[in-house]
């Protein structure tokens, strides 16, 4: 889904750069509020794992696909943390020639902003529904896998809609959505496997489990309140 330069009109690329810039500033602010520096190694490793996973294309004849990982990251870190990691991954990929430099904003909008926000919201709804029937750990893995599938198809549909801004490529809307309905299965399986590893190895760092007692991220610093003396 990495769009190269030379396909979309310049005005759309500039618009996407502006939207991406605003969202990046917001995500940095949210990260500063929510994450402390103890989680920095975890963020670096997650970014590297997602980058590595995106290097390998699995066959979906006559096409191929690879993990995007937006929903996975959004569930693990929250949408803002996920967005920032996708921004970094796309930046290094663009420097390596995978996805254009001018279309960086558009790629970030599709795979970062849209996919992280929608993936996070959808997974959260599914997680809350599934939690009624099974335990939290199983719920989060299944909910995230389903959400990642839906988001892959939706993001491809959005990219197909964006193609209508070009003069003649709008007809790609149907094939791009259809092929991603198959690629999405691979995304869901990889999401399931990677998240299962983290759920088993370190469930404390998954944002959806933050309300449970195992979460480190949910730990709010306990500040003792001044006790008011009676009669003061």
């Amino acid at each position: 889904m990495h769009v190269p330069d030379g396909i979309f009109p310049l005005w759309l690329q500039i618009l996407m750069y502006i939207i991406s810039g605003i969202m990046l500033v917001l995500s940095v602010k949210m990260i500063n509020k929510k994450f402390d520096d103890k989680l920095v190694p975890y963020m670096g490793v997650l970014a590297a794992v997602i980058f590595a996973a995106q290097l390998i294309n699995f066959p979906v004849p006559p096409s191929s696909g690879h993990l995007v990982g937006s929903t996975l990251l959004a569930v693990m870190l929250g949408p803002w943390g996920g967005m920032l990691i996708i921004a970094l991954v796309l930046f290094v990929q663009a420097l390596s020639g995978d996805g254009g430099l001018l279309t960086y904003g558009l790629n970030f909008f599709n795979m970062g902003i849209f996919s992280c926000l929608v993936g996070w919201a959808l997974a959260l709804v599914l997680f809350k529904g599934l939690k009624r029937f099974t335990d939290e750990k199983r719920s989060v893995v299944v909910a995230t896998a389903i959400a990642s599938y839906v988001v892959t198809v939706l993001a491809a549909f959005v990219l197909g809609i964006e193609l209508f801004t070009t003069t003649e490529y709008g007809i790609a809307l149907v094939p791009i959505t259809a092929i991603h309905a198959i690629i999405g299965i691979g995304e869901a399986i990889l999401t399931f496997v990677i998240l299962l590893y983290f759920v088993k190895a370190k469930p404390q760092v998954i944002s959806f489990l933050k309300e449970s007692e195992v979460s480190e991220m949910a730990r709010v610093p306990v500040v003792p309140l001044p006790i008011q003396q009676v009669g003061e």
Binding site: P41, A47, V49, L88, L95, I179
Partner: protein, 94 residues
């Protein structure tokens, strides 16, 4: 961070590097166009843009070894960049 913690963080990274490099070197990664390229260039008949920026590793040429090495360099680069960016943007604890 104790030894077990470090291992839990390092393990997925090591596994990722091993899987990526072996899949590239063994030619197991699919060479088919991705979903976007297939839909646009093969189905819609758009002409693939040429002459743009081909990446900072373009001067090294093609080949599975080059691909594996640049892939590993990319993984290490993103690890460092990710570490740096999140260290700068996260809340500092004493």
């Amino acid at each position: 961070m104790n030894k077990n913690e470090t291992l839990k963080y390092a393990l997925p990274l090591i596994v990722a590097i091993v899987i990526v490099s072996s899949m590239i070197l063994l030619g197991l990664a699919s060479q088919n166009p991705d979903g976007f390229e297939w839909s646009l260039f093969d189905v819609a008949g758009a002409e693939e843009p040429t002459g743009g920026f081909e990446g900072i590793w373009a001067f090294l040429g093609d080949g599975v070894f080059i691909e594996a090495i640049t892939g590993i360099l990319g993984i290490l680069a993103i690890l460092l960049i990710g570490y740096g960016v999140f260290w700068l943007t996260s809340r500092k604890t004493k």
